[in-house]
Amino acid sequence: MSILFYVFAGLAIGGAVGVVMAKSPVGSLLFMVTTLAAMAGTFVLLEAHFLAAIQIIVYAGAIMVLFLFVIMLLNLGHDYQKDLRGGAFAVLSFGVIGGIAGLLARQLGATGSLSGPGAGAIDAAIAEHGALGAIAEPLYTTYVVPFEITGILLLVAIVGALVLAKREV
């Protein structure tokens, strides 16, 4: 199991580095798919099968295809390279990474473990309801209002995107 974890973790980090380093945008995208798929693999190792499936279906499967569309249809040449390299962006990205690493280190230092509280409760929920029920049960009972509001928000976003796109054409 731990060997598999190192394989997936290596793939995820390697893919993430590749996203930044790759020369062509399509290469970057495929590296990003690698990262997302490797993260799905680590989710499986954590017994979060449903999350892994959703990770692939939603991120790797649907959104990345749209990204691919954008890159191909815009037909980016070589004028994109200087935009995101060096200067303020480098400082900003290192700042964000540093912030996340700091938060993780704080958690590790305080509790000696990176998993939050309630890991046992999640195990119990999975044992009782199965891989899907453990997520579906709270999602459709305790958190049903925020969940539905998120749905409406996304719908509004879609309608807004359509309206904006129509105006261009």
Binding site: V33, A53, I57, G61, V65, F69, L132
Partner: protein, 436 residues
């Protein structure tokens, strides 16, 4: 001994299943290509390939040798890495999806009971959806990396079509999942055994929607827009030759085999044969064949003969759907691209959504009325779904929904406005028959 197989024997059984099932899938794919050519010949009143071996049975092997020995071409302007990567990305998902489909009843061995499925993962059907959504990458990448306009257009069409029909596919699955109460395919089969009828009857409209979407997902006629020969040469694999082209072909047939097996599993009971004699399910660690009148579990009696018979049943159902795939390809003409899109978004999606609501309400009503999950439950749902299917068929009548027919109506209006002089010259000619 009704214990699940454990330890070293389980590992060996796992390896045997892996090798056995994937070899079987590859073999079926190879012979599906032959079947396609023979059935198309039969439909067109020809003989088809019958020279290599008895009845042409060695034809797939000859094809394979030919494809391996052919020259691999690489277009000068193609991006080499992605060009080679694309066939691999297409091939892998089409094969891997078969891992979650149970092919027969559990097999008893001296070391324990072996489930006849490679991996009964807890996410079941989501595994299939995940990998079928990854299959788009290979197609798009192949089209783009070829650096050829036809290939690129084919790739774009393929991705648009597959993304669109994935929605209807997923929604038609929801009805099945509501009946099964779980996403693993063993559970879907078990619930069909418990219901006493296969889901094709109580969920008839979901069945139809699933079959249509699966045709679109596999890019088969009448949805083979991505490789429409008359417009795009052969679409996304225009520039591919030899074994790389073969990889695209194998993956198309692999998708067909997997989709056929899925239709059989979800809607025709998988390996289940009529009657309760072959039912088997792991319930709290024991293999049962059902519940008695007092709610006590009845132990299953697995045997090698039952496994063999159920495997043959599964093979027959899958083979039937494969035949339907081929049959439809040589019967129906290709859709126009805008028709494919409007069918997907304006017909399939709303119908699937409405049907999910209908099934949910019916299930809720039946549960509230206290109808036990069994044959009567199934009959009630069959009646409701039958009415929905009839309405769907009525409104999907091609005169109403497909834009070609709508265009005909506007033309008819235009004909009326033509000056009498022109109309008089046309009156002499026999009127063209309506395009049926």
């Amino acid at each position: 001994m009704l214990e699940p197989i454990q330890g070293i024997p389980a590992l060996i059984a796992m390896m045997l299943k892996n090798v056995g099932i994937f070899t079987l899938v590859i073999l079926v794919v190879a012979y599906a290509t032959l079947a396609e050519r023979r059935v198309s010949a039969f439909i067109q009143d020809r003989r088809g390939p019958n020279r290599v071996g008895p009845f042409g049975l060695l034809q797939p092997i000859a094809d394979g040798i030919k494809n391996i020995l052919k020259e691999e071409t690489l277009p000068a302007t193609a991006s080499r890495f992605f060009f080679v990567l694309a066939p691999i990305l297409v091939l892998v998902p089409s094969m891997v999806t078969f891992a979650v489909i149970p092919i027969a009843a559990p097999l008893p061995t001296p070391w324990g009971v072996v489930d006849m499925v490679i991996a009964d993962v807890p996410i079941g059907i989501l595994w299939v959806l995940a990998f079928s959504s990854l299959a788009v990458y290979g197609v798009v990448l192949g089209g783009w990396a070829s650096n050829n306009k036809y290939a690129f257009l084919g790739g774009l069409r393929a991705s648009a079509q597959m993304v669109s029909y994935e929605v209807a596919l997923g929604l038609s699955l929801i009805a099945v999942l509501m009946m099964a109460g779980n996403v693993t395919l063993t559970d879907v089969i078990w619930q069909q055994q418990q219901l006493g009828m296969w889901f094709a009857f109580p969920l008839s409209l979901a069945f139809i929607l699933f079959v249509i979407s699966a045709f679109a997902e596999t890019n088969r006629l009448p949805f083979d827009m991505p490789e429409a020969e008359s417009e795009l040469v052969t679409g996304y694999h225009t520039e591919y030759s030899a074994m790389k082209f073969s990889a695209f072909m194998i993956s198309e047939f692999g998708h067909m085999v997997t989709a056929s097996a899925l239709m059989a599993t979800l809607f025709l009971g998988g390996w289940d044969l009529p009657g309760a004699w072959d039912d088997a399910y792991w319930y709290n660690g024991i293999l049962i064949s059902g519940f008695g009148a007092d709610g006590a579990a009845i132990l299953a009696q697995p045997s090698a003969l039952k496994t063999l018979l159920t495997f043959l049943g599964f093979g027959a159902k899958t083979g039937f759907f494969l035949l339907v795939y081929i049959w439809i390809r040589w019967t129906l003409p290709r859709f126009r691209y805008d028709q494919v899109m409007s069918l997907g978004w304006k017909v399939m999606l709303p119908t699937a959504l409405a049907y999910v609501m209908l099934v949910a309400m019916t299930i809720l009503l039946l549960d509230e009325l206290g109808v036990a999950y069994g044959f009567g439950y199934g009959l009630a749902l069959t009646a409701v779904s039958g009415a929905a299917t009839f309405a769907f068929m009525f409104f999907l009548d091609r005169g109403r929904t497909i834009t070609g027919a709508a265009a005909q109506r506007t033309q008819r209006v235009e004909v009326k406005t033509i000056p009498t002089k022109v109309a008089a010259t046309e009156a002499g000619a026999t009127p063209a028959p309506a395009g049926d």
